[in-house]
């Protein structure tokens, strides 16, 4: 019964307005409190930002650096609010985590030219897992009235297999574009897409893991960025134009027929 309920909750989450994702999650938890932990783990939320005052740096909050109501900073490795015996990565993994945060900080700067990134790691039976988070809030002012927000959530499972390691990455990118203007009224274009991939890469030592994770994240983000571009700024508007034709249905039909004629001519001349 619980499995079916979780499936239904996830299906529902794919249909409810994504701009209300936090309220949707709260509603789902209220409906099925027994599923709270599962829901918190499976349903992605826009990332919240906190400041590690000791280090003077921002970090991102998610389920993977949470223990109770406290969140661990990747910079100081401390929990805020303070927590006695909060879960920490092993010393060896923490060293890797520190380097990963530094490396993805550079990556973030190169692609996002701003924003905040955080990497959290935890030990697993046959390797370790890491989540790489990036959040960028676009500039919004009178000249740039569209508010854009990008959240990347990558979860990478790393399995040691001797000379090779398997990197299984599950990525969700949440993207929202919201604006209110005189000529075009209110526009809210929000949502997320999720992709997965698995790669085997050679590894010699811990540094290989860093480099491999970097490549895996970069490849995935490039692909997802393309998909977002096509879906958000292509497909959704194509559908609006399907609903109401800009040029009139007669003109659309004539154009389509002409296009088909041209295509047919190309095919025919190719066959000759």
């Amino acid at each position: 019964m619980t499995d079916e309920q979780l499936d239904c909750a996830l299906d529902l989450n794919r249909r409810l307005p994504p701009t209300n994702v936090e309220d949707n999650l709260a509603g789902l938890i209220d409906l099925v409190p027994d599923l709270t932990e599962d829901l918190l783990t499976s349903i992605d939320q826009p990332l919240k930002v906190a400041t590690d005052n000791g280090y003077g740096r921002d970090y991102l909050l998610c389920d993977y650096n949470r223990d109770g109501d406290s969140f661990r900073s990747p910079w100081s490795n401390q929990y805020f609010p303070k927590l006695k015996d909060g879960a920490l990565p092993s010393k060896k993994l923490r060293d890797l985590e520190v380097q990963a945060n530094e490396m993805f900080d550079v990556y973030r700067d190169l692609y996002y030219e701003g924003g905040v990134s955080s990497v959290y790691m935890w030990d697993t039976e046959d390797g370790f897992s890491a989540c790489v988070l990036i959040k960028k809030v676009g500039e919004q002012n009178v000249k740039k009235p569209i508010q854009g927000v990008w959240d990347s959530i990558h979860v990478i499972e790393v399995t040691d297999k001797g000379r090779v390691a398997t990197y299984k990455i599950t990525t969700t990118v949440m993207l929202s574009m919201i604006t209110e203007q005189k000529e075009s009224g209110s526009i809210n274009l929000s949502g997320s897409i999720t992709r997965q991939s698995e790669t085997d890469l050679k590894f010699e030592d811990q540094s290989s893991h860093l480099i491999n994770m970097g490549k895996v994240v970069e490849d995935m983000e490039s692909k997802v960025r393309n998909t977002l571009d096509q879906i958000y700024f292509g497909k959704t508007f194509d559908i609006v134009n399907d609903l109401r034709s800009m040029n009139g249905l007669k003109v659309d039909r004539t154009r389509k027929e002409e296009q088909q004629k041209v295509f047919q001519n190309i095919v025919n001349s190719g066959n000759n």
Partner: protein, 286 residues
């Protein structure tokens, strides 16, 4: 153990979820909600009213039995929770909200149920609007009502369902007309909603309020001017939407995340690691 809310509060959440269903997906949402609520007795008590409210908000349109045009389900034509007026035929049709079809039953409207002070105008506007939606909306559905006080309400509702491709969408416009002192004051609300859900959940939600005035003359010419004014306003709006799309894709999106770093090449992680480029990033920028 976490605090658990009452059954009534849970039902409210369930109904809220149903009313938030994207176009064409209320049955899937009902299935999900039924499993989560796990209380069919409770759910069955309100399912019908939830469907009714949903259908009215969506301005759900479907073909009338034995007539070759669709009727919209709207608050403007509702005479009882399951009967709706067709201003064109002056008949009252029964509608099954859960099946989302007309049951086939109808009766003639009573004189108390329809307003016809400006029927000649309503009818002319009806014809002109139908010409407009036939030419510009693939799913052409519009109903024109006369309401109390000679107000005319034009409802346009276009939907496209493609669940096999994981998308659905609607265009809904409602235009309220007040005929007074030789002028028609028109107030319009245009909404679009598009849902894409292949390995994700992306939704477009737009809302625009419009205001246009047209001069009154004979019914036929007035009907034509009104349809023309609506066509021009909706066309202008769709163009403005398009411009916004271009800006979103070209400017806003690019300023969130570049396609490639400024070097024009993918990142060399080995270099970052070996050179340990730490502390030289713009980590204080937002």
């Amino acid at each position: 153990m976490s605090y658990e809310i009452s059954d009534e509060e849970k039902l409210k959440i369930a109904v809220h979820f149903m009313l938030s269903s994207p176009p064409g997906e209320i049955n899937e949402v009902l299935t999900d909600v039924r499993v989560l609520l796990d209380n069919d007795n409770l759910l069955n008590q309100t399912a019908l009213s939830a469907f009714r409210e949903y259908n009215k908000t969506q301005m759900y349109a479907t073909e009338l039995p034995e007539l070759d045009y669709p009727l919209l389900i709207t608050e403007y034509g509702e005479l009882s929770p399951n009967t709706y007026l067709d201003p064109r035929s002056k008949r009252v049709y029964s509608f099954d909200h859960i099946q989302q079809t007309f049951s086939g039953e109808f009766r003639e409207a009573e004189s108390s149920e329809i307003f016809s002070a400006v029927e000649d105008y309503r009818s002319a506007i009806d014809m002109a609007i139908n010409q407009y939606v036939f030419e510009y909306f693939a799913d052409h559905s519009a109903t024109v009502y006369e309401q109390k006080g000679k107000e005319i309400v034009i409802c346009i509702s276009a939907k496209k369902y493609s669940p096999q491709n994981y998308w659905n969408g609607t265009w809904r416009s409602v235009w309220k007309l007040n005929i007074k002192n030789g002028k028609v004051k028109m107030k319009g609300t245009i909404k679009t909603l598009v849902h894409l859900y292949e390995a994700g959940n992306v939704q477009l939600n737009t809302l625009k309020e419009e205001s246009v005035d047209v001069t009154v003359s004979d019914p036929e010419s007035t009907g034509t001017s009104i349809a023309k004014a609506i066509f021009e306003t909706e066309h202008k709006y769709q163009k403005a939407l398009q411009l916004n799309y271009l800006e979103m894709g070209d400017t806003t999106f690019k300023s969130l995340r570049r396609k490639l770093p400024i070097t024009g090449e993918k990142v060399n992680f080995y270099n970052i690691y070996s050179k340990k480029i730490i502390g030289q990033t713009s980590n204080n920028k937002k």
